[in-house]
């Protein structure tokens, strides 16, 4: 090659740097996704208006008190159900253990607001239980006392019944990860099963249990359907009432900000316990754990302890829903119900695909440019899962309404055209809110799958002449196909179940299965609500199956039949 030719192809000395989409794009996406939470937090700094003063003097104490009481009750409830069942199925042997191992996860498929109204229908005055009692004893109205299910304690029980699987799941994983050596040493030192549980297994699993507990409490704070239906005044119902009852979005946002600070305490608790959990693995010997064989009354007690949560948290309400749905074919064998289902499935599918694409973009961006800014962006984008749907809805509504109003005013002034509501009154707002809330679900799955692909794969593809964005499509996406599908499914089901954000942000006259369930139940049309509720529950079983498959494979040396 001659010298002139060489000079001609030499790159210029200084070149204008193009903005790097994989860096700035990821950070920008995270910022947009963080917008709702930032908007809500900004309201902490705004001067508090008269409404806020009024709230503080009247209902705020109730909100705080009831929310705390709810958390305390649910906290105790999920620990009492989750930890013992986890210990029984992972370290003891009794009939049906393998079945319970995954059956105990079933209540995850039951949204709290659905179980709440199902039990109301079963335990109310005209319900089957009280009717039966009256028949048996010849009682009439007012002759007897029956516990009121629509109360704070009722809400505690309902939420505990469907949220304990978080504790169960993490505690079970922690018990299984404990090395055989530690437990065997405990046995040789003369500790029986119960002493071993109390002195060795429980302390070792404590960080995992706290993580599960904080997840359950986040869900408790996020719950709207149950407390609204039971008429318990908490933050979430307060936000609704302040916004729609009193017409005060600003004060509602301030309430949301206070709720968020509760959530942040839980996030910190969760992070802290996760960090501690890392130091708890002392030995890596994973063999089939020798299980305590339970006999006699112990066996019966173990069986009862495992049957009850599954029965009360899933089977009974599911049977009741099925019975109701079977008796109300006129409700669901209609074009209207079909449209409802179509709305729900379509919305969930669009959001799920979008959330997974966003997760893919962000996780791959971080892989290409592992700068601190990208790592931080990923963590920020994943925060939404801890934020209650009500808070996100408030945080989406405020800026979107502002943008719509500004745009509309400008268009009117300039072109004399009214654009109306482009963002806030449409599905855009709803899908965006879902993405904010559920991106963490897809992000976790995609990040884990991407992490399993060796960096040399990327390098190999690039040295074969392929640019990074094509490498993602040609190499990573096909390899991760299974995980991407899982992520889509998980987001899909979460969206299907979501209630409060949908209630606030849905376009006028747009209904989903969750909204219809809640509305009918609120109108005391419990049986009519059952078909929509049942559809949600059935969809909810999908992630339970995925989850139980993952955990049965997660432990090295664990027999796959278990």
């Amino acid at each position: 090659m001659n010298h002139e030719a060489t000079q001609a192809v030499t790159p210029p000395l200084r070149r204008w740097r193009r903005p790097d989409a994989w860096r700035s794009g990821v950070v920008l996406t995270a910022l947009i996704l963080a917008l709702p939470v930032l908007v809500v937090f900004a309201h902490l700094l705004l001067p508090s208006g008269e409404v806020w003063q009024h709230l503080r003097e009247t209902v705020l104490r109730d909100y705080v008190f009831n929310s705390l009481l709810l958390m305390l009750g649910v906290g105790i409830g999920v620990l009492l159900i989750g930890v013992p069942t986890a210990w029984l199925v992972s370290l003891c042997e009794f009939p049906g253990r393998r079945l319970f191992q995954w059956a105990l996860l079933l209540p995850l498929a039951m949204p709290a607001y659905i179980i709440a109204y199902t039990y109301t229908g079963m335990l109310d005055f005209p319900g089957p239980v009280q009717t039966q009692l009256r028949d048996w004893f010849g009682w009439g109205y007012g002759d007897y006392w029956f516990p009121e299910i629509r109360s704070l304690s009722g809400a505690v029980i309902m939420l505990s019944l469907v949220l304990y699987p978080y504790v169960y799941l993490l505690a079970r994983a922690a018990f299984l990860e404990q090395s055989v050596c530690v437990l065997e040493v405990s046995r040789t030192l003369g500790n029986g099963p119960w002493a071993g549980f109390y002195h060795v297994a429980l302390p070792l699993a404590r960080p995992a249990i706290i993580t599960g507990l904080s997840l359950a409490l986040m869900e408790t704070l996020a719950d709207y359907g149950t407390v609204a239906y039971f008429g318990v005044s908490t933050f979430t119902t307060g936000i609704f009432r302040t916004w729609f009852g009193m017409g005060e979005p600003g004060a509602a946002a301030q309430l949301a900000a206070v709720l968020m600070s509760f959530v942040f305490v839980l996030i910190l608790l969760e992070r802290w316990s996760r960090r501690r959990a890392r130091f708890h693995h002392t030995s890596n010997r994973y063999t089939q754990l020798p299980r305590y064989r339970l006999q006699g009354w112990r066996r019966s007690a173990a069986l009862a302890a495992c049957i009850l949560p599954v029965l009360l948290g899933f089977l009974l309400p599911a049977i009741q829903l099925t019975a109701w749905a079977a008796g109300t074919t006129d409700v669901w064998m209609t074009p209207e119900f079909l449209r409802l289902t179509w709305n729900s499935l379509g919305l969930a599918a669009i959001t799920a695909v979008l959330a997974v694409l966003l997760a893919l973009f962000m996780a791959y961006g971080q892989r290409l440019r592992p700068a601190w800014s990208n790592t931080l962006a990923l963590r920020v984008a994943g925060m939404g899962y801890a934020v209650p749907g009500t808070v996100i809805a408030v945080g989406v509504m405020l800026p979107f309404a502002w943008i719509d109003n500004t745009l509309d005013a400008w268009m009117r002034e300039t072109f004399d055209i009214s654009t109306g509501l482009v963002l806030s009154g449409t599905l855009v707002a709803l899908v965006f809110a879902y993405c904010v809330r559920f991106l963490a679900v897809s992000l976790n799955t995609v990040e884990a799958a991407l992490g399993k692909i060796k960096p040399s794969m990327d390098d190999a593809a690039r040295s074969l002449g392929m640019a990074p964005n094509r490498v993602l499509r040609a190499v990573h996406m096909p390899i991760m196909r299974g995980s991407l599908l899982t992520a889509v499914l998980l987001v899909f089901v979460d969206v299907l179940k979501e209630l409060p954000a949908t209630l606030i942000l849905r376009p006028f006259n747009f209904n989903t299965l969750a909204v219809r369930t809640f509305e009918m139940a609120s109108d005391e049309r419990l049986a009519d609500a059952a078909s929509a509720a049942l559809a949600i529950v059935i969809a909810g079983i999908i992630p339970v199956i995925l989850l139980s498959r993952t955990i049965s494979r997660s432990r090295p040396g664990h027999d796959t039949t278990a």
Binding site: S456, D459, A461, R462, R481
Partner: protein, 348 residues
């Protein structure tokens, strides 16, 4: 004639740590070069800089005379036409062997692509494996497919990053010779990175000994062994001991073993204290000799023994002797000099 690859005073840094210092090397078209050094010496980083995966912080890298790396410029790896074979092979698990090989030649027509894949499969000796998937192949087979895949687009330069390190030790040298045959047949210019000198000797035309981010010597295997330019090279390549001596004149050095003749490098004055490199094949047992050493240790190598000997002064040397002379540990044996190359390092 222009060199195919020119690495010109290159630094590579991770943050504040410079891991490659002032490296220069040149490689002509058709030659196989090798970066040889202990693990962590920076050889893989240098290779990745040549491939375009790591930006450089000083100097310049040119391919065919074109600048591809400069502190303010890194041509993307996918635009360099530089192929790479990875330590873990990095075969795409979701693609068949044929699809893996065809990955880099997507721009060709289906027929041309198929012809090239068939040709390469034949070249690496696995003509019937096109429809298999990587996980069904043995390590050696994966290795060959990885090589075929990297060669498919006819890269200007092929880089091999420790390509034999996951192979059985017995297979490595054989595979290295096999790869050399293939590369030479296809007239491919290549650079190999390895820590195993037998691999380097079996494959490379030029070897650079790398230590602490620097190339100490860029030379043929023969010269690295017999004309090491630095103590590290003398120590790292082959076996040998340094024996103290003094310069007598321009072509003689006096040591405990006697006077050794050779070319004394310029800059050494008469009487200067020096260290003389004594390779195991530089001395032979000789019953007639008045110089002797005591056997400290012996290692059986089949055709020969490698003896470690202690001289009268306490200095140690190594000596290869045919294995029918079986001396016992503690025995004294007479020694004869058989130097062809005099290698001396001035003592500080």
């Amino acid at each position: 004639m222009t060199q195919l690859l020119e690495v010109d005073n290159v630094d590579v840094a991770y943050g504040a740590t410079t891991v490659v210092h002032q490296v220069s090397l040149e490689l002509r078209k058709g030659l196989i070069g090798c970066l040889l050094g202990p693990s962590g010496c920076g050889k893989t980083t240098l290779l990745r800089a040549i491939a375009g995966f790591e930006p450089i912080s000083a100097g310049e890298i040119r391919l065919d005379g074109t600048v591809v790396s400069r502190p303010d410029w890194t041509t993307a790896p996918e635009r360099r036409q530089v192929g790479m074979v990875f330590q873990d092979f990095a075969l795409f698990p979701h693609l068949s062997v044929a699809e893996n090989i065809g990955f880099g030649i997507r721009h060709l027509s289906a027929r041309e692509r198929e012809a090239r894949v068939t040709e390469l499969l034949k070249l690496v000796g696995l003509p019937t494996y096109g429809n298999n998937y990587p996980h069904a192949l043995s390590g050696g087979q994966q290795q060959r497919i990885a090589l075929a895949r990297a060669m498919a687009p006819r890269p200007r330069l092929l880089l091999l990053d420790e390509p034999f390190s996951s192979m059985d030790v017995e297979l490595r040298e054989e595979l290295a010779r096999e790869v050399r045959r293939i590369l030479k047949q296809e007239q491919i210019t290549a650079i190999l990175v390895t820590h195993d000198q037998m691999e380097a000797f079996a494959m490379a035309d030029r070897i650079g000994v790398v230590n602490a981010g620097r190339i100490l010597q860029w030379d043929t295997a023969y010269n690295l062994y017999h004309r090491p330019g630095e103590r590290f090279v003398a120590d790292f390549i082959g076996q040998g001991k340094l024996l103290p001596g003094a310069v007598l004149n321009e072509h003689q050095v006096e040591t405990e073993l006697g006077i050794i003749t050779g070319l004394v490098p310029k800059g050494c004055d008469i009487g200067d204290p020096v260290d003389v490199l004594v390779r195991p094949d530089d001395i032979r047992p000789d019953d007639q000799s008045h110089i002797s050493g005591e056997v400290l240790d012996k290692a059986f190598r089949g055709a020969s023994f490698l003896y470690t000997l202690r001289l009268a002064s306490g200095g140690k040397v190594l000596c290869y002797a045919p294995s029918h002379d079986n001396f016992a540990v503690g025995e004294r044996i007479g020694l004869k000099l058989a130097f062809n190359h005099l290698v001396i390092f001035p003592r500080a």
